[in-house]
């Protein structure tokens, strides 16, 4: 039974991480319907940026964290400006392919500068953040990441539902030409969503780095994990991303705990296909409204 609970806790916390990593992805999808294949690389860039600031430049943690967030915000903005803006109005598949190209560009650059070895952050989270529940121990990182996940979920939910910029973003995703005809600054919307996505991604990247260590291949592959997570939840649902993440996290830990560790990496996809066959728009996605 203790094994079960430990798996449960592990699964929940890994799942929350997946969900958190997926937030930025959903952000971009919601505003521009683009599947961002470079998301894993955005995570990695955040993690490495933080590493450079903390380990090499030895800045205080809090300062480094803020600089990383600001830096990735600018990066997201720049990526949109340089690469995606010329494609506004083109068919989606080109934009998606472009993010595939970006993914290998970023990955190549990261490998060039940092190599493929595992690196780690110095220990910095206070031990007092840990939670001891009977025999079950929850390390501080998980507590911190749950807190962050919860806060961002709330912020994003409010942002999209009530703020003008959030509504503009959704309108652009819905019908770009119509949004343009009403004077929505489509370019600004895209730039903003990429910037926010990169910001959230780098934050998740840092958390991933604290838990698993920082490795280009490792973190990039999390970027692919994001797909089953968001699809499971429904591509455009932010709450769905978190729940999808938790489902996938639990599935993975329980499969590797009780059945076989090698099945761990495919089980999310098998479940994904099954769920999609039953609910074609994921668990919480909006059904497509089609009028012919």
């Amino acid at each position: 039974m203790e094994f079960f609970f430990q798996l449960l806790i592990n699964g929940l916390s890994i799942g929350l991480l997946y969900g958190l990593s997926a937030l930025g992805f959903v952000m971009i999808f919601k505003s521009s319907s683009v599947l961002n294949f470079a998301h894993g690389q955005l995570l990695a860039i955040g993690a490495f940026f933080f590493l450079v600031l903390v380990s090499w430049l030895e800045l205080p943690i809090f300062v480094a964290f803020l600089i990383t967030l600001a830096g990735s915000f600018v990066l997201g903005f720049a990526v949109e400006r340089i690469f995606l803006r010329p494609l506004i109005g083109e068919s989606l598949i080109f934009v998606i392919m472009l993010t595939v190209g970006l993914a290998s560009m970023f990955k190549g650059l990261l490998l060039f500068f940092f190599g493929g070895n595992l690196q780690t952050y110095p220990e910095f989270l206070p031990q007092s953040m840990a939670i001891q529940l009977g025999s079950i121990y929850i390390p501080p990182v998980y507590v911190a990441s749950s807190l962050m996940g919860g806060i961002f979920l709330l912020l994003f939910g409010l942002f999209f539902k009530y703020s003008p910029q959030g509504i503009f973003m959704r309108s652009v995703a819905d019908n770009q030409t119509a949004a343009m005809s009403l004077g929505v600054h489509v370019k600004k919307v895209f730039a903003l969503s990429w910037a926010i996505a990169a910001l959230v991604a780098s934050m998740s990247g840092i958390v991933l780095g604290i838990i698993n260590g920082i490795n280009v291949h490792e973190i990039s592959s999390i970027g692919l994990k994001v797909f089953p997570v968001v699809i499971l939840g429904g591509l455009d649902s932010i709450g769905g991303a978190i729940i999808g993440g938790i489902i996938i996290g639990l599935l993975e830990t329980f499969t590797s705990g009780y059945i076989s560790p090698s099945l761990r990496d495919v089980i999310p996809y098998i479940v994904l296909v099954v769920i999609l066959l039953i609910k074609p728009y994921g668990l919480f996605g909006l059904a497509e409204i089609e009028r012919v």
Binding site: F83, V100, P228, I270, L276
Partner: protein
């Protein structure tokens, strides 16, 4: 009715046969025949063995890319599992050749059929899923197939890989690059013809109707699920056929190459070549294979310089960077692909000096 020799300066077609013709003018047909004659008669004899190898790889890639273009470009279903289907083809070919003992001429098409069946199984979600959701379902297919290839030890020998017997056709050993060149390019010519003819039949028109508006197509009485499955089947047949050829050409296969990266490469070929364009698929295959080979060439060259070899080690990662950069630049500069570039060049010549 005399066929036209030159492009008319307007639409003067009088019956559907003219609309459907592959070659609009006799000139077009003549150039195509000259091109094929040069390809088979001259190219193999003036190219070095290495170049011949590159050509062969391009030919194989072109077959698979053609298949993917039928699915993405003509039917509008984006698949991220083409690399895995290519792998299924390679393994099917290898297993049919070793365990079952089929000869070369039978094993390759049979591998295509096996792959087509597998592809149709993974195409089943297309009955309910659309757009990006389907894309992700095929991504799941990619990972599931990869897993099966590695873990179904009794059939695929897992990570050990399989060695294939030498191919032989009509009593000839197909064992040199040159002989493979003929096998591959005759196959490519055939499948290209099949593909371009397919698009002129009711099946092709149904595919295009589904791509443009599947609801409307359904309303016209096209059974869209059947046609989507068929499109998955045909596209996977091409992938499997190419995979089996590749397995024979390599003589030894393992599970490593058939990753998501390969699937992405095929999609890159189709997009860079031109969606929904048959020659485009071939252009795309030439471009991506050429890019890969030239990047490898540069890396190898740097490794051979002692002074640069340390740097050359890092170059491996820069290769990935350059690959991404090439795709990005291409999409930014000409998103409609090489086929569009080709069309613009041709019509510029044709219409010069008045652009409209």
């Amino acid at each position: 009715m005399k066929r036209l020799t030159f492009h008319p300066c307007g639409n003067y077609k009088e019956h559907y046969g003219q609309e459907l013709a592959i070659f609009e003018t006799d000139f077009g047909r003549m150039w195509a025949i000259i091109g094929i004659a040069l390809l088979f008669g001259a190219v193999p004899f003036i190219s070095s063995p290495y170049f011949l190898y590159v050509l062969n790889m391009t030919g194989i890639a072109a077959i698979a890319a053609l298949g993917l273009n039928i699915l993405i470009g003509f039917t509008g279903q984006i698949s991220l599992g083409h690399g895995a289907f290519f792998g299924v083809g390679a393994y099917a070919g290898a297993i049919l050749a070793t365990t079952v003992g089929l000869p070369f001429w039978a094993a390759v098409p049979a591998a295509g059929i096996v792959t087509a069946l597998v592809g149709m199984v993974f195409g089943i979600p297309s009955g309910r899923l659309k757009g990006l959701y389907l894309t992700i379902a095929t991504l799941a297919g990619q990972f599931i197939i990869e897993y099966i290839l590695v873990h179904w030890d009794s059939l695929t020998k897992g990570t050990m890989g399989i060695m294939l017997p030498a191919a032989s056709l009509f009593g000839f050993e197909v064992n040199t690059d040159l002989r493979f060149f003929y096998v591959i390019f005759v196959s490519l010519t055939c499948v290209t013809l099949v593909a371009s003819n397919l698009m002129r039949t009711r099946y092709g028109r149904a595919f295009i109707a589904i791509r443009d508006n599947d609801r409307a197509a359904e309303g016209m009485g096209i059974p869209i699920f059947f046609y989507k499955l068929l499109s998955f089947g045909i596209s996977s047949f091409y992938a499997g056929f190419a995979g089996a050829l590749w397995a024979y050409y390599m003589r030894a296969i393992s599970t490593e190459p058939f990753t998501l990266g390969l699937s992405v490469e095929y999609i890159a070929m189709v997009i860079i070549g031109g969606l929904g364009s048959i020659p485009g698929s071939i252009f795309g295959a030439v471009f991506i294979t050429g890019l890969n080979e030239s990047l490898r060439f540069v890396t190898d060259a740097m490794m051979n310089f002692p002074a640069l070899s340390g740097f050359g080690l890092n170059m491996a990662s820069l290769r990935e960077f350059a690959f991404g950069l090439a795709i990005v630049l291409f999409i930014l500069i000409e998103p409609k692909g090489l086929a569009e570039v080709w069309r613009i060049i041709r019509s510029t010549f044709r219409l010069w000096p008045f652009s409209y």
